[in-house]
Symmetry: D2
């Protein structure tokens, strides 16, 4: 049995960089990795993009209805790879996975004995979990925080949606576009106390 | 700003012992603590009971509709304690808190600057989060795992409801009675693969 | 391969309580544990004593020259236990182990595949590692902090020796007697800045 | 009071990448950082080099006899920066710091209230701590592991020096040259059991 890891952090905590580093560490030891990205995140298309300037193509672009475990095994077959030689499955933007896909990730770890590391945001702009993050927090073997800072220097834990009038507290959960400036990672105090933001 | 901690673990991971130890550590340094217990957990009544044989009365028995932050401040007033002198608020069986009460716990940490440590189970017998645990996993500053073992020796992460025919996978979320033997902490593999349990 | 864990914390962080809880968790699942205590710590004799009021006899009282791994296997033989059925080896006051004994603990984990959890203090009153803690910090698979608080409410990380004139900064590393009041767990600031202590 | 963090990991665990990411995270929030590198590590000269392909010049190249805290404040003065506006001090190859320099790093965190994050290797090829890592493990507020894998897929915790006849177990602690292939991160079992390596 291998483990399912959820490495969560607010926006801009370096999740994609960390994921590309893990891939690099495995490959340096001559072990294959499979990089998965949720197709819900249309930003960067099929690229996993780190703000440090490194990027790389995903092996699998996962749509909401798709079976993650079946797709993983199909991919191995297409590439003539024995699944047992895969060192690790890495998932970017894992908050957008469906709960079923998280269960399939758990099965890859537990039944196929391949470690799965999912990177994602914990909550949306209303501090509510995304479906994928909620399921990951329920079933992952290990929850590992990735840190970043708030404008005030404290640890940021929330992802605020910011408009002209300040923090927006109602609306659609997912709103992806080119302008990432409308989201801001904040600490709990800067999020909760209006006049501080 | 202080922090809200969620120390989660499967059944029988020693959560109540750890909570009583934290209380002891603060009091040894002459700092007051307030012990909260969810009234939903009728087992042990108003006692926080450790399987190691230590027990202690809760200061606050919290019903679902009750405001945690207001009740905490009322209690301080009744006992003529300045809330600012409270070293820590400790919550037992925190999975039974309502989401609103978790938000109030966050406010005690962030707005009143008193550390809050909530101890609880992550998921029910169907591996779904309890309302309190879900909210805690969304907003706590720090998620800390408390470990225990499965019958097979691996780390237990799930809480199975076990009947005469094996693992029960459907039913009411909460079922508290005197017979704790009907729940069993299991690892993911012993939970997922029927013939192993 | 199992792991060697070092759970370190300042004085009075609840290390013995945590150790007795781990023992309880294994035994509840019908797995044997072996409790080791350094004979250098003459306090409590062969008892592992928790400040919460729980105590229990050690299975093995380890003197500095003694081989931990050989003694462990001898004990199993004496008790007619197959070493492979031991769920866990637990070590109290592990800072007093010799470096060789820590290496033997690592061998129990790695070569005999039995998890070893060592509990101990990180540093002495001059903030220098004990021989056992130093070796544990070098080779343990996992370093896990156990927290307690300073008189000021911050996390304590140092163990000060306190005399009538305040903090004592020179002297013998080990000085065990009945009067534990002469040691105090402090945060770095209360330790470093004289007029604050 | 801020904290001193020691993020340790075996060779090739992504420490420099993580350090450059932390720097990026602070600067994105318009906070200054100061990057320190031990001059003992002559590889890459004054550059902090990540194996992912990112690199950056260190602000301070620290020689063994140099006072870290004084040098840090001198640098701030030279650059007309108020030290209080520095968000974070980051140290690469921190295992090469002298114990005194680690104490100075602690003072920057505790007395100047600037978080210090030191990245480094825990032990040398004989599994003995470097002077800097030993002191960091004694006094850091938080010890955080960075993971990488062994050739066998397990977590690597040791840094073996490998020659034509296999693992070398005696020699000089520091031997830096261009040929990094002579070191290999290994798990405890592959390090301890000769015929496995």
């Amino acid at each position: 049995m291998s483990k399912l890891f959820f490495r969560y952090g607010a926006m801009n905590s370096g999740k994609s960089t960390a994921m590309l580093q893990v891939a690099h560490n495995y490959e340096e030891r001559a072990q294959n990795v499979v990089l998965v990205k949720s197709a819900t995140d249309t930003k960067g298309k099929d690229q996993i993009v780190s703000r440090l300037g490194v990027s790389r193509q995903a092996d699998l672009l996962l749509s909401p209805g798709q079976d993650l475990r079946a797709s993983f095994h199909d991919l191995c077959q297409q590439r003539a790879l024995d699944a047992r030689t895969i060192g690790c499955v890495l998932i970017d933007e894992a908050q957008f996975l469906t709960p079923e896909q998280v269960d399939q990730a758990l099965e890859i770890a537990v039944l196929d004995s391949i470690p799965v590391v999912a990177f994602g945001i914990r909550t949306d702009f209303r501090t509510r979990a995304f479906p994928g993050s909620q399921r990951l927090m329920e079933v992952a073997h290990s929850l590992q925080e990735m840190k970043t800072i708030c404008r005030c220097g404290s640890k940021a834990i929330f992802n605020a949606r910011v408009g002209k009038q300040g923090i927006i507290r109602e609306g659609e959960q997912v709103m992806i576009d080119g302008d990432s400036a409308q989201y801001e990672a904040l600490c709990a105090r800067c999020y909760l106390v209006p006049d501080r933001t």
